[in-house]
């Protein structure tokens, strides 16, 4: 008896597709990745011990497939082949909007951040904040969003995340700083309630 059926496996396909699409930005590549993951999972189904959920196990496989995908041909996210690789060329620095010329805050950085800093009491609240963070992440340029996702959500080391996003490790630190500040400011704007 197999630990899961092919129907159960296929029921995860849409979620895996959404996951992959966020990270590679191209439907065809995402479809191929889903196929690779599901076939690999099916071939290796005897190794699934059921200690984690099937979806979690599949996402774990997908992470490796996505990394392989970027490593294979040193690909970068779709539509970005001609985009600049260095942070100097990325235009607007969000920190310029947050600080004045002396490096002092223009607005109160703590106002409205209470809900983020206090540990959410339950999954629903955590889910609300997650949704908001993801909405804010959509405002990031594609490559920056990928870099941030690989680093902060997928927990890759900086050099690996940088390689996947097609930026130099030196630029990655600067870009991650920009992403964090941009997201922090976005969360703050959308969660205004006194600290």
């Amino acid at each position: 008896m197999t630990p899961f059926t092919s129907d159960q496996l296929m029921s995860e396909a849409d979620r895996l597709f959404a996951y992959a699409l966020k990270r590679v930005g191209d439907r065809h590549r995402a479809e191929d990745l889903v196929q690779d993951v599901l076939v690999a999972a099916w071939e290796g189904r005897e190794s699934f011990d059921g200690r984690s959920k099937l979806g979690t196990w599949l996402v774990g496989i997908m992470k490796f497939k996505i990394l392989d995908h970027y490593r294979a041909k040193k690909r970068t996210p779709t539509d970005l082949a001609s985009a600049p690789l260095d942070h100097e060329d990325w235009g607007d620095d969000p920190l310029d909007h947050l600080f004045d010329k002396q490096g002092a805050w223009k607005t109160d950085p703590n106002y409205g951040m209470k809900a983020v800093v206090e540990t959410p009491a339950n999954d629903a609240e955590r889910g609300d904040i997650m949704q908001l963070i993801h909405r804010c992440m959509e405002g990031l340029p594609e490559r920056l969003r990928l870099l941030f996702t690989m680093r902060e959500i997928d927990q890759l080391a900086v050099p690996e995340a940088a390689a996947a996003a097609g930026v130099t490790p030196g630029s990655a630190a600067v870009l991650l700083t920009r992403a964090r500040h941009q997201l922090r400011a976005c969360l703050q704007r959308h969660q205004i309630d006194p600290p």
Partner: protein, 121 residues
């Protein structure tokens, strides 16, 4: 949690007064709030150098407005990582779904690797 987006108020008056008096000097010494904010992010990606760590600690001690910033970044990371499989659970799904033709193709390829739906049962 309220929407739509609003602009946060300016920092407290005391902060603005101190910045007016000390801002230029702090900037020259590499101790401005902007530098602190950059270090607060940088330390999440690599260990700070001794000099950076000293500036970070010093600023954290003297600036109550910046003090909570590292906690905000940590909290963001914590929420994101605590829900690392949110994508797989559909919590953050973009609503994009796989074409049925692609699903059929995948299902067919599973069959060629030793199984069909009926055989699995």
């Amino acid at each position: 949690m309220s929407c739509p987006a609003e602009t946060p108020p300016p920092p407290p008056r005391g902060y603005r007064f101190v910045q007016t008096m000390m801002g230029p000097l702090m900037k020259r010494l590499g101790l401005s709030c902007r530098e602190f904010a950059e270090l607060a992010s940088l330390r999440m990606d690599r260990p700070l150098t001794r000099s950076e760590a000293m500036r970070f600690r010093f600023h954290s001690l003297m600036c109550s407005v910046c003090r909570r910033l590292p906690g905000q970044f940590e909290a963001m990371r914590s929420v994101l990582r605590s829900c690392a499989v949110c994508d797989s659970q559909g919590i953050t799904s973009s609503g994009e779904i796989l074409d049925s033709a692609v699903k059929e193709r995948i299902l067919a390829s599973l069959g060629s690797f030793g199984g069909t739906r009926r055989e699995d049962e």
